[in-house]
């Protein structure tokens, strides 16, 4: 029982095909079995076209699998409609993308607040406190009112990380979060993931091309041609 409560995510025979039912139907994920537990800090590696992004979109409930079952926080998701998956995504998952993807019309603070505003409407004092605290934690307390285009790439990515964490998700998914940053900034951003994983206990799954980055993660998952070929604990 205690085993189950530690489990954040479980995949059983997860499959994804494109062009379903058409002559050019292609299966890109051929039955993935995977479990991610609280506190996990995992890297997902693999060559281009191996299905990493597809898998990440499925894990984040942005996309629906064509086979198998995905259980998030003990809730099977195969029968859920779009609204149900959106609600679960909003509360359980934080996303960080390669290109920071902030909403240009809003300040840094409002961008951080966005997931809370979408879920609950007008932010209350508690929400504001939490957003400010997160901005401070990523070192951007001074830039709360700045617009995204007034921030550097690294700063924008840090705002995106704060946004991903504001709902206190059980799972943080990052797609090449440092791919667009110089080495020093990338190192800083990576340190943030580490810190939040350690301090808040949220599971982190990073998609990365960078072998140095994956080497510093606790666990490395390797995807080749739509199959999980290795799942190793580092050190």
């Amino acid at each position: 029982m205690s085993e189950a409560t530690h489990e954040v995510l479980r995949l059983e025979g997860l499959r994804k095909s494109y062009y379903l039912g058409r002559p050019n139907e292609t299966e890109v994920l051929h039955g993935i079995d995977l479990a991610i537990e609280r506190g996990d800090f995992a890297a997902l590696v693999g060559p281009s076209g191996s299905g990493k992004s597809t898998l990440l979109n499925l894990l984040g409930l942005l996309d629906t699998p064509t086979g198998g079952e995905l259980t998030l926080l003990g809730r099977p998701t195969s029968g859920m409609d779009d609204a149900g998956r959106t609600a679960l995504r909003g509360s359980a998952i934080g996303f960080v993308f390669q290109f920071h993807h902030l909403i240009q019309a809003f300040s840094a603070l409002d961008n951080v607040l966005m997931p809370l505003m979408l879920a609950r409407g007008r932010p209350d004092a508690e929400a504001l406190d939490r957003a400010r605290e997160l901005l401070a934690a990523v070192g951007l307390a001074r830039f709360a009112d700045a617009r995204p285009n007034q921030l550097s790439g690294g700063q924008q990515q840090r705002v995106a990380i704060a946004r991903a964490l504001v709902t206190q998700p059980a799972l943080l998914l990052a797609d090449e979060p440092t791919g667009n940053l110089d080495t020093r900034t990338a190192g800083e951003v990576f340190e943030l993931f580490r810190r939040f994983n350690r301090e808040r206990g949220c599971a982190v799954l990073l998609v990365t091309h960078d072998p140095r980055l994956s080497a510093t993660c606790d666990r490395t998952l390797e995807l080749v041609d739509g199959q999980l070929v290795s799942d190793a604990m580092n050190r």
Binding site: N57, L62, A83, G121
Partner: protein, 407 residues
Amino acid sequence: MSLPLRGLWTEWTLAVAFLREGRAQSLMIAVGVAVGVAVIVFIAALIQGLQANIIERTLGTQAHIRLLSPDEVNRVLPPPAGTLQLVQEDRRAQRLRSINNWQQVSATLDRLPDLEAVSPVVSGPAFARRGEAVVSVALTGIDPARYRRIIPLEQYLVSGRLRVGADDAMIGKRLADDLGVRVGMKLRLETGQQHSRVVNVAGIFELGVRELDSRYVYLDLKQAQSLLALPGGVTVIDLTVADIFAAERIAERVGRLTSLKAESWIETNAQLMNALTAQSLSTNMIIVFVAISVAFGIASVLSVSVVQRTREIGILRATGATRRQILRVFLLQGALFGLLGSVLGSAVSYLLVWVFNTFGPGLFYIPVPPVLVVAALLLATLTGLLAAAVPARRAARLDPVVAIRYV
């Protein structure tokens, strides 16, 4: 949906932020909507003002409803069963007759809530003679206190006083000119029944309708009754109603109630009403087509905006926005375009109306009824909302996976 108001706060914030960010675009479409709304409000106010003016002028000189004795008809005895009856019938000539029991009818009508004024009148043909000149006139015997509520004669008086009775009469301006009489002069009135009387011209009026000004002679009831050989009788009961466009319906009801022939002004001015209806129709068509073009303007701007914001829509979906929330953000933007544009447009239409009233031909004054402005605001906002439906649906249906990768 369980917390619609609290939920809408976020959509509202997003919609306003998106509008602000695309400032130039928003401003252009708002101006586009404003031009449309200004045209709609101005034309509607102009036509309403014009029609109100025409109707006021028309009704200023006639009753809304006239009650007359029913036509006299020949009665044919029914033939015994099995007999074929051939009838050759000449319609009866309609002689001047009094309304039966008119005092009681009038008292009953006084109590009807739909009616504003009830005025029994006796009217019939006569000749006015001065020296060698003879003019055919329409004698009208009135109770001035009641009749003034049907036609406010005091407003039309050009000389003399509003006084009938005791040998005093009031005549139309053209008639006075034709006979060369002024206030204080005498006039002989003759009717076909060999009655004749000399009256004193107490007042001269000008109703502004040629036919009336050259024929009308007002007396009091008694004098007219005796001249027309209808002692104690009246031939017509004039009525006014509060809602002039309900005249037809009320006429029918009053007709049934009194068993008299009831003619409403709408019936007697059928041509005018036709013209007004045609005019309203063309105004409504202008309004509908302007509204349609405004709707397409809003829809096209929002369609472009959905494409421009594809990636942001994807981000919002990834951070927990539901399809409904995305839908509402874009619907709200459409409604806001409509509202902003119509506020601006209403202001412009006020200016246009002011210019028309101040520097225009000055034939009549156009009021801008606040109801019209409120209606325009609502119509434009609703149009914006409807116009946004298609782009908003497209935004809501975007696949977040595809949208996020959109560059």
